[in-house]
Amino acid sequence: MKKVYAKEEYCLGCRLCEVHCIVAHSDYKNDIVKAFKKQEQRPLPRVIVEENRPVSFALQCRHCEDAPCTTACITGAMQKDPVTGVVTCEESRCVGCWTCILACPFGAIARNEQGKKVASKCDLCSELGDIPACVKNCPNAAMVFEER
């Protein structure tokens, strides 16, 4: 299964991946300005840049084989798709209990408290049908999308 892998030696720490992740999950997928200025509840970035200068890299959900978040989820909102392998959070079923956040060994899940409380995490841009927005827009090829 293709996943996103980081190359920390090339990460600039610019966080453009975070910006493009937001845009890709907003209502204005082709307009950065509107996604930021017009959208009322701006989505959270699902990729987070971890930094300890000069080292930095982009971290997102690893879509683990045996994903602890799916076992921890009390409502079954966290599911691993048996075909694609992508782990997604079905927001209609999420109750914002944050158990998955405790369980995730990578700290890749964030709390979205703007409206209904939901867990927010990388979905490999499965709805876009393209390579993930963070990988596509990284200015220094610090992320790759490949099978390993």
Binding site: L12, G13, C14, I32, V33, N140
Partner: protein, 499 residues
């Protein structure tokens, strides 16, 4: 004391487009942008901007642009704003004004006063897409003739460097530019069948694998020079002078000497690396003869040894002396050559244009009948493939490109290399900045530049009815001057357009 310095540039931010994502804040090493927590907005500080365009390029909504700071001085052809501000700076500091890159003053550019020929009717032009078009050339000492015994070649040639195109990456030291920049150029030179030059900072361990494409440099500071280094490359270049700063040595500020640079140069970490003005063992031409042969002995006569000089007033006589001192190639560096750091006045007032120097040296060596004994590599001012063609027509065997190579890697020629804050990861050792130059991408870009020029040179050669580079070398009849004085035409050895 009041500080009289005013900003050079104005940062213009379109507030309608700015999304306060803070990419510009994170990317500017000069700290020209910052985030105001109270206002929750990004703000800019014009006085820190050097017009490197990093923020402009990185901004996801193209909200930024850089303009010249609109501070008007009263019109004065002699006392321009720039000239006045230089004096303010010196009044404040008592110091030498320093700068990076090459001479930016409006002296004439002779490449732009030379035009190329095309064949028509009496001689057909050649189509490079359908016919072979050969750019291969050889750098090294060539004998006057070849001897054959029983139909077989009896003459033994000294080692020649084989180039697939007449363009080589110029000497830029590790220290003045980053390891990632060196890696990019080394890899690109390997891919496109040419060479790159280490500059005077030695050769980093990681780059020894590119040895067969490397020209190692021995400069006055002898940084990094040991037997392994000398044998690691394909050729050795003794750097006597550099076009950007003829008469003085290199200067690498202590801030740019980190652990890796210190190890490679064989000097203590954090110390300024100052190359002496002359080589202290070359005070006359016979001393150069001795050094050339010392290096040949040290490498068992297996590598071409060349000499790099800056183009100065009596360059033709110096070149003749160097050829007779045993050099296998001579590099001529004109006054527009780039540098990581040089005193401003030296850069802008010392040295002569490469076009004139090249023509003078080629003519002089031919008049003396010794042109075959050395290859001439022309350095500085090569901006594009037509400059390359003109240089070959004037007499060069190949050209070095420095600034053009760095621009292909992302350089925006802001001339602040000496500060060590290169936002493009090129002229810096700061690890936060050097990571910005991904050598895989850099190598691809530099190789693309060479490939693009290869294609363009083939088009121009074909247009002239030539299908092999050796028929262009020194072929002054392919050039015509435009807007040049009779004297200029005479020195360049070309006719005027219309003749």
């Amino acid at each position: 004391m009041i500080n009289y310095s005013t900003p050079e540039f104005l940062i213009e931010r379109d507030r309608n487009r700015c999304i306060d994502c803070k990419v510009c804040v994170r990317q500017c090493a000069n700290e020209a942008h910052s985030f105001d927590e109270e206002e929750q907005k990004v703000v800019s500080h014009d006085e820190k901007c050097v017009a490197c365009h990093r923020c402009v390029v990185m901004c996801p909504t193209h909200a930024l642009t850089i303009k010249r700071f609109p501070l008007e001085f009263r019109q004065n052809s002699l006392w321009t704003g720039r000239t006045i501000k230089d004096i303010y700076m010196q009044a404040e500091t008592g110091g030498i004004l320093s700068t990076g890159m090459g001479n930016d003053k409006p002296y004439p550019i002779y490449w732009d006063h030379m035009l190329l020929n095309a064949s028509q009717v009496t001689n057909p032009s050649i189509d490079p897409l359908r016919e072979p078009m050969e750019l291969k050339t050889f750098i090294g000492r060539k004998p006057d003739r070849l001897e054959f015994k029983d139909g077989k070649l009896a003459t033994k040639l000294s080692t020649q460097l084989e180039l697939d195109l007449p363009v080589i990456f110029s000497a830029m030291s590790y220290g003045s530019i980053s390891l990632n920049a060196h890696k990019s150029l080394a890899k690109a030179s390997q891919v496109e069948g040419t060479f790159w030059n280490t500059g005077e900072g030695g050769l980093h361990r990681d780059l020894y694998e590119y040895g067969p494409n490397t020209i190692v440099q021995v400069a006055s500071g002898r940084f990094g020079v040991n037997p392994e280094y000398l044998n690691a490359g394909a050729a050795i270049e003794i750097k006597i002078g550099q076009g950007a700063k003829p008469g003085i040595g290199g200067h690498l500020p202590g801030e740019k000497v980190d652990w890796e640079v210190s190890k490679t140069r064989m000097i203590p970490e954090g110390t300024d690396a100052i190359s002496p003005a002359p080589h202290h063992d070359i005070y006359s031409i016979e001393d150069l003869h001795q050094l050339i042969f010392s290096l040949k002995e040290a490498t068992n006569y297996k590598k071409p040894v060349g000499v790099k000089i800056a183009a100065v007033h009596n360059v033709a006589a110096i070149a003749s002396g160097i050829a007779r001192a045993g050099a296998d190639f001579i590099t001529l560096d004109g006054f527009r050559g780039g540098t990581g750091s040089a005193p401003l006045r030296t850069r802008d007032s010392v040295g002569i244009p490469i076009e004139l120097a090249l023509a003078a040296v080629d003519t002089r060596l031919r008049n003396e009948g010794i042109r075959g004994s050395v290859s001439i590599i022309s350095a500085s001012s090569i901006r594009n493939s037509s400059d390359v063609v003109k240089a070959i027509a004037l007499g060069a065997d190949a050209v070095y490109i420095g600034t053009a190579a760095l621009i292909s890697l992302g350089c925006h020629v802001c001339q602040k290399c000496n500060t060590g804050k290169c936002n493009w990861g090129i002229a810096t050792q700061n690890p936060n900045l050097t990571k910005r130059l991904n050598p895989e991408i850099g190598a691809q870009r530099a190789a693309n530049l060479l490939l693009a020029w290869k294609r363009e040179i083939k088009e121009m050669l074909g247009g002239m009815g030539i299908n092999a580079l050796e028929s262009l070398r020194g072929n002054r009849l392919m050039l015509r001057g435009i807007g040049l004085s009779d004297r200029d035409l005479k020195i360049l050895g070309i006719n005027a357009a219309g003749e």
